[in-house]
């Protein structure tokens, strides 16, 4: 309870919304609040969860990476092609990470060395990396991965219903949260996002930090690509097409400011779960796909609108309090 009270306003709201979504889903369908169903539907947003972690860091420094889902697809294709060519799986996985890291590095170099806006750069590389994935695989699909690996994507933590990728995502979320909220490096991201010029004058290595974050985003997308490939036992060039929107929707709904300098990992993670639960609840009552798309769109708009409104209301309340209109008991 105390931990809950210590959370900033928007995160608390998100916790409430997650509970409401859970209960709402339970009211809508008796099949919703079963361990099995919750296990299925959380597994469904494993990749979004992973990519949302590094996206949170990027958006906090006022950058964005729209190419994450394409890097996922490219790494999935690399993994599949190498595996099909007889490369041992650990090496193929390593190669996927290398490719993901390089893709992130290219994004980072274009942004930091050439001073291009990351929005434009990563729209470009979104197409580039997806194109490369198609070059590698065409419309082929590579399947038949060893069961030990597909179990990693498909299975649950022994003795529980928690999907392994979600357990992995949770561990990485904790690591990311500690790095962001409890290390000097993490604090420096807020400084860069809030005021880059000031950050630079205070001696922060803005370019190097951003470059590092893009590489991390690439590596995380590679991890998501590996998870996706094993989860569906299928490497295809079109894997996870359009997932970048889900990632960005979650990060923004999580209260991370699109203008940088504000947000938390907890918020982003809660938002991933919230969107996933809403989607899952609507799916189980057979709401059509068009409506689902509309709901995701509305959430995306709301995710920018609502935290802004909440921040304004809070600011107004604080001003009133400062004026001394309220006396604390």
């Amino acid at each position: 309870m105390k931990a809950l009270r210590n959370l900033p306003g928007w995160e608390t709201t998100l916790v409430v919304l997650v509970v409401v979504a859970l209960l709402g889903g339970g009211v809508l369908s008796k099949d919703f609040l079963t361990g099995q169903n919750l296990s299925f539907l959380t597994a469904n947003f494993s990749e979004i969860l992973l990519m949302a972690l590094t996206m949170t860091l990027l958006v906090i420094v006022a950058e964005i990476d729209l190419s994450v889902a394409s890097i996922l697809g490219l790494c999935s294709a690399v993994l599949g092609v190498l595996f099909a060519a007889g490369v041992p799986m650990p090496l193929a996985i390593l190669a996927a990470f290398v490719v993901g890291g390089l893709a992130g590095l290219l994004n980072g170099l274009l942004v930091t060395r050439l001073g291009l806006p990351s929005l434009a750069v990563t729209i470009g590389t979104l197409a580039l990396y997806r194109g490369l994935a198609y070059v590698l695989l065409g419309d082929r699909a590579i399947a038949d991965f060893p069961q030990a690996y597909t179990n990693f994507g498909f299975g649950t933590v022994p003795g529980t219903l928690i999907p392994i990728p979600i357990a992995l995502g949770t561990v990485l979320a904790v690591v990311t949260a500690v790095v962001l909220h409890a290390t000097p490096f993490g604090r420096s991201l807020y400084a860069i996002g809030a005021n880059e010029v000031a950050a630079r004058f205070s001696g922060l290595r803005v370019e190097r930090t951003k470059l590092l974050l893009f590489v991390m985003s690439g590596l995380m997308s590679a991890l998501a690509g590996i998870v996706y490939t094993f989860r569906f036992a299928s490497a295809r060039g079109d894997n996870a097409t359009g997932f970048e929107l889900g990632v960005i929707a979650a990060v923004l709904l999580g209260g991370v400011s699109i203008f940088g300098g504000r947000g938390s990992v907890v918020g982003a993670v809660l938002a991933v779960f919230l969107i996933g639960l809403i989607n899952g609840a609507l799916t189980i009552v057979d709401v059509s796909n068009e409506i689902l798309t509309i709901v995701t769109g509305l959430l995306l708009i709301g995710s920018v609108l609502v935290p802004n409104l909440v921040a304004r209301v809070q600011a107004a309340r604080q001003r009133r309090r400062l004026r001394g209109n309220t006396v604390s008991p």
Binding site: T34, F40, A141, A143, D144, F154, F232, A233, T283, S288
Partner: protein, 333 residues
């Protein structure tokens, strides 16, 4: 004495018959069946699933149609999971990817759900039955039968195919040649197999070439949707319109104008609605225990009649469906 034995054996036969009848359980009422097409906005899929709805009404099953709006490899997975969570009795799907769905279908099977694929199969391990629109022999033979009727079993004929190495086309052509060996086709002569490479312009030119090169040409079979429409476009402006019969495999939307202006009398494809209808009956028969999916088992599928399960759990809907002026407006795909 004799009379009595006849009576007795009649009685015995009767009881055997009732026993046999009792061994085939009736279709269960109130079954919950999920239809999962490749994607839900494609007109072909809409017609296909409408057949499933029709079958559901006939057998008192609750049929729901769900599906993604894109035909991505993994977009169907969450719908499979949802069907498991909803404890549906059967899942009828047209798979977007033969392999991506396998672990999820295995999970669905383990939860007790019956899996039937239609149109687009998964690996055999993923499902119990596969409802296939038509088989190669059926398609090949039916094309010749249709053309034979159209030209009164007389005259030169040609084939306008796709590419020389298209496996499905070549198999169909092989069956066409088998059918042509039957005595009733003794006055029909296959003079040329032309290849339009599934390219509109090339098919157009090839059609033109056929008509100019063979003055006794009475009919052309184009077992490819690209070839038949390009061929029809050429024929519609040629003096041979109405004299050379063109048939083959095409879609109603593509061929509608040519059927209405008299260029083409009849062509074939399958009726997607029958595919969904049969798949739903098959799913219900599986759940009700009428069949288990073994080769040779038989079951009844409403208006389509009785079906026998073939090799690897495959069931063929039947010979291709013939579209003509009378029925083409009932289809939109």
């Amino acid at each position: 004495m004799k009379k009595r034995s006849v009576l007795l054996s009649a009685l015995a036969l009767g009881s055997v018959a009732t026993l046999a009848a009792a061994q085939t359980p009736a279709l269960k009422k109130g079954l919950k069946i999920t239809l999962l097409p490749k994607n839900i906005n494609n007109p072909y899929n809409v017609i296909e699933t409408s057949g499933g709805t029709e079958a559901g009404k006939e057998i008192g099953a609750a049929v729901k149609i769900v599906g993604p709006s894109d035909a991505g490899a993994s977009s169907q997975v969450s719908y499979i999971n949802t069907a498991i969570a909803q404890k549906q009795d059967a899942l009828v799907l047209a798979a977007n990817d033969a392999n991506a769905l396998l672990p999820y279908l295995a999970r669905a099977k383990a939860s007790g759900m019956k899996i039937v694929t239609m149109d687009s199969d998964t690996a055999v391990s993923g499902r119990t039955l596969f409802i296939n629109q038509a088989n190669s022999e059926g398609i090949g033979r039916a094309q010749v039968q249709l053309l034979g009727k159209l030209i009164n079993y007389k005259g030169d004929i040609a084939v306008l195919s796709a590419t020389p190495n298209a496996t499905n086309q070549n198999t169909w052509i092989k069956w066409m040649q088998e059918e042509l060996k039957l005595p009733k086709y003794k006055d029909m002569k296959l003079v040329k197999i032309a290849y339009g490479n599934d390219d509109d312009q090339k098919s157009f030119t090839e059609m033109q070439g056929l008509i100019q090169a063979y003055p006794n040409l009475k009919g052309v079979i184009s077992p490819t949707t690209v070839g038949i429409s390009a061929g029809a476009r050429y024929l519609s402006t040629s003096p041979q319109k109405g004299k050379v019969m063109l048939t083959g495999l095409g879609t109603p939307n593509q061929m509608r104008a040519f059927v209405k202006d008299g260029t083409v009398t009849a062509f074939q494809l399958w009726n997607p609605s029958d595919v969904g209808y049969l798949a739903t009956y098959a799913a219900a028969a599986l759940v009700s225990g009428q069949i288990t999916g073994k080769e040779g088992e038989k079951f009844k599928a409403g208006k389509l009649g009785e079906y026998t399960i073939g090799k690897n759990g495959e069931i063929i809907v039947g010979p291709p469906y013939t579209f003509d002026k009378a029925n083409i407006d009932k289809f939109n795909f």
